[in-house]
Amino acid sequence: MAVHFVLDTKELPEGTHTIVTVNGREIGLYHLNGSYYALNNYCPHYGAPLCAGHVGGTNLPSDVYQYEYGKQGQIVRCPWHGWEFDIKTGVSLFDDKIRTRTYPVEVRDGKIGIVLGK
């Protein structure tokens, strides 16, 4: 297990995201509601750069003709086919088995670190 410090917290304000490269891996780093999340920049569908996708909210499961908009800022849509993924878990919204890899994030001394390996 290794923590790779990639950014100062000042460089990733609340509500923003960026893409960093660690050990040759592209990882999307998101700052959402005071926490940081790291997501593999790779869509399990066709390998598109997932973290280049639009970040927003979505319509949560609801009754017919009811709209429950939620998870604002927590959903990334793949730029190629629009699949939605939960940034906090990497899990797609249409099938629990479809997911992209996530990594633990550690913040120490004003620096954001991504944890790779076991």
């Binding site: 319509n59 017919v64 003709y65 699949w83 249409f94």
Partner: protein, 355 residues
């Protein structure tokens, strides 16, 4: 060589003269129909074959399909059918313009059906016709007669003013579910009266095109019903897609499921993949069965979507493109045949073995 198989036929067209409905109509419709007939709207497409099998015209006169005794001889006894679901043709009235007239015609027909056909022979079960112009009137009719022991489903026209999943139609599905009846959807008036164009591209030139493209109507209605959440709202509802073809089913399931992956946020009320709703709630009737050069290809297609649990045999007697139960689907396994020719319909319509 044909082994004996048990058969339920889910699409048999009984016919009558317009004047036969007059005694069952209230005024002002009674006087109107007595003077001028029903005035159904036609699609305007000429068929060189005609619509009826010529050998089904009763020797003593009258319309093809109008004589119960001849129907029993030519269809029921010849193919040893256990039940024949009478679907009529009155559902075509949904393409006409006046909602009150259309509802009154359906009510008169339903009373006539019970009176003159369903009481005639135990083999006959009936589809309760309702018009879609005013779904609240349709729901009232379903509540009026839906509990009759010989009524086994509701039938509506696939020729409609809008995709049939849309919310204004929901009172029909609500009433059908309340009465424990499947809703059958049947083509015939596509392009007529106030219904939409008969194909997605507009009005084709000939009947051969019109007839081939009827399956488009069913694809559009089915996608609409799934996406509008009809099966979430009415979880006990079953829908029978009659005479709309079958081979398109894998295509629509795959295409809709794929789109759901990307577009589910538009239909957040869907809790499962769209194809699962189709599998659990929908049935398709066989006639006119697709006939590929290699018959095994159709069996392969069925297997792709486990279709043998969703398919119901239909003959379409006495129409020109009649499919005899002894002629079609010969490549199927005995088990699949038993489901398609008999058991799926027996379960869906809750029919007990006769005698």
């Amino acid at each position: 060589m044909s082994e004996r198989i048990k058969v339920i036929d889910v699409d048999v067209h009984n016919e009558q003269n317009d004047s036969d409905l007059v005694p069952y109509l209230p005024e002002p419709w009674k006087s109107r129909v007595a003077r001028s007939g029903l005035g159904m709207a036609g699609s305007g497409y000429y068929s060189p074959v005609g619509v009826m099998r010529r050998d089904t015209i009763p020797p003593g006169g009258g319309k093809a399909g109008s004589d119960p005794d001849l129907m029993i001889e030519q269809l029921v006894e010849r193919y040893d059918m256990e039940y024949a679901i009478l679907t009529g043709v009155i559902y075509n009235v949904s393409a006409t313009h006046d909602p009150d007239f259309a509802a009154a015609v359906c009510s008169a027909y339903n009373d006539f059906l019970i009176d003159k056909w369903l009481s005639k022979h135990k083999v006959f079960k009936g589809a309760l016709a309702v018009a879609t112009q005013d779904p609240y009137l349709a729901a009232r009719e379903i509540d009026r007669l839906g509990s009759h022991p010989d009524i086994v489903e509701v039938i509506i026209s696939s020729a409609a003013r809008a995709p049939l999943g849309q919310r204004m139609y929901h009172p029909i599905y609500e009433a059908a579910e309340r009465n424990g009846l499947p809703v059958a959807i049947h083509p015939g008036a596509e392009g007529a009266g106030s219904s939409t164009a008969p194909t997605a591209a507009g009005y084709p030139t000939w009947y051969i095109e019109w007839h081939t493209c009827l399956s488009q109507m069913f694809m559009a209605h089915l996608v609409s019903m799934v996406c509008e959440g009809v099966f979430e709202k009415f979880p006990r509802l079953k829908v029978v897609l009659v005479e709309g073809g079958i081979a398109w089913l894998p295509h629509i399931m795959w295409r809709l499921d794929k789109n759901y992956n990307a577009l589910r946020s538009q239909v957040p009320w869907l809790k499962r993949r769209p194809s699962e709703y189709i599998r659990d709630h929908c049935y398709l009737s066989t006639q006119p069965i697709e006939e590929p050069d290699n018959p095994q290809h159709l069996v392969d297609l069925f297997n792709m979507v486990d279709a043998e649990n969703m398919i119901l045999y239909s003959s379409d007697y006495p129409h020109w493109d009649f499919d005899p139960p002894t002629g079609i689907l010969r490549k199927l396994s005995a088990e699949a045949k038993h489901k398609i020719f008999y058991d799926n319909a027996r379960k869906l319509y809750k029919l007990s073995p006769r005698d």
